[in-house]
Symmetry: none
Subunit: 119 residues, 2 copies
DNA sequence: CTTACTAGGTAAGATTATATTACCACTTGT
DNA sequence: ACAAGTGGTAATATAATCTTACCTAGTAAG
């Protein structure tokens, strides 16, 4: 998802997630029962987000609260013992997600991957 | 972490987590920069919790936002065959691919997707 | 070029929630 | 009994959000 290390604030992540979900502020506002300016101010960092709103936004955008609040590992040092970390992360996944992930892995291995493209 | 099926609301989980951490409302209030009645009302479900406050509470109680918001995924049993398969596949990845994958995992965690879409 | 439509940012007054102080009851220890 | 600690709740002053409105930029047609 975010692959951009400069997206480090919650409101920026929420904005990014909305765009990734292909939704407008107005659509999100309607889903949340808010007015559009409220969504605008939230994404500008000028308005707080309640825990309930955060929960709904995570459902809408299909992201996790951990990630929105910056509790998920965002950057991994290239020379870490990454396999063990990956194993720990895998254990946290739901079975369906793990199945999806296996497909991602397969796709990665079979691609020639000239680098640079986002997931 | 979990466990009491009757603890199904966020404020109840926050109260439970505070007690598990062995803290009083007054101590938490001081750590959060709030007054004690605010903590009391939060745990009674009469006051909203902002995302920032939620984040701080998770740090203080050593819990995850996913759990507080009821999005904690079922974990896969450590001896799940799919987990071993995934680990073997991960070992075949190039380092850069693995780094990218870890980010995907972080974003994917606990997202509720019954939609069965392809990746 | 003009019109219309969509998306998004922002201002101002009305409305609502929170902050702050205070007082209450209960418990524990002196 | 007393004091200290914990937690629930009320009243009002304060701060936040809501709601409406107006503005700009971009885009697609006429």
């Amino acid at each position: 998802m975010t692959v951009d290390p400069q997206v480090n604030s919650m409101h920026a992540r929420l904005k990014e997630a909305r765009k990734m979900a292909g939704l407008s502020q107005g659509q999100v506002a309607k889903l949340l029962g808010l007015h559009r300016p409220s969504v605008s101010e939230i994404e500008a960092g000028n308005r707080r987000v309640s825990a309930d709103e955060l929960s709904q936004l995570c459902d809408i955008y299909d992201i996790s609260p951990d990630w929105v609040l910056g509790k998920s590992p965002e950057t991994i040092s290239p020379d870490d013992p990454k396999l063990e970390l990956a194993a720990r992360e895998l254990a946290k996944l739901k079975p369906d997600d793990l199945s999806r992930l296996l497909k991602v892995i397969a796709a990665m291995r079979s691609s020639n991957d000239t680098g640079g493209e986002k997931i």
